[in-house]
Symmetry: C2
Subunit: 107 residues, 2 copies
DNA sequence: GCTAGATACAACCGTATGGTTGTATAATTG
DNA sequence: CAATTATACAACCATACGGTTGTATCTAGC
């Protein structure tokens, strides 16, 4: 998933897919590369679960998959939580620390 | 940044860096690859701003950089927001839609 | 059913990436 | 300061990746 988002073109496709109903050919129009290249990018995003394709008429409309974006975000949330809990543990350690004898505190 | 997180080893290093005070050699112990390889991974994470190195004695301790993680998350938040505002716009459209004449609604 | 439109897929190419080994630099220890 | 520990860096290799072109499939319209 992170891999899928690691490419700028793909991130932009996701962005456009969020509020567009664009077919692949239309999407390809926005980028300085061939239709096939864009097609590959969409395929990668699709496999990563960040985007879905739906046949509409003779086109296949690309739609962003909110679930996918949320999935990635959740991972990052876990990292943040790990961090905060670490900070928490450090604070706990300091708090649990019974005030040592005066001579050790002062100075 | 997404690129930096696109590798499983690097994600694990970030995880360990969150609550560890591990040097690179210690980190390398966890993975089936050479010290130099891990060193490169750390360098990539560092360039991406996800991790910092601090010299402590003869080691260089690797610490996760919360700022970096939050940065990536913020990007995903923007995607989510785009999505929700799109849903919002669609809802608005439906709401703004003045009830058409009866003949158009029924049937 | 034939033609045109839109997508799919395979083969190929150059470069970036993840890995290796080897050598050099920094900091601790005796 | 010599020896050891921990990190840095360069050169190299195989493979993955982003791009191309060419051909095949599927749908719409006449």
């Amino acid at each position: 998933m992170f891999g899928a988002l690691a490419d700028a073109t793909r991130r932009d496709i996701v962005r456009r897919a969020i509020d567009g109903e664009q077919g692949i050919l239309e999407l390809a129009g926005h980028y300085p590369m061939s239709f096939a290249a864009v097609q590959k990018h969409v395929a990668i995003l699709e496999r990563a679960g960040l985007v879905t394709k739906e046949r509409i008429g003779r086109r296949k409309v690309v739609r962003a998959n909110l679930e996918g974006v949320l999935m990635v975000r959740r991972l990052l949330d876990r990292y943040e939580e790990l961090w905060r809990s670490r900070i928490g543990r450090m604070a706990d350690l300091l708090a649990d620390d019974a005030p040592p004898a005066q001579k050790e505190i002062d100075r």
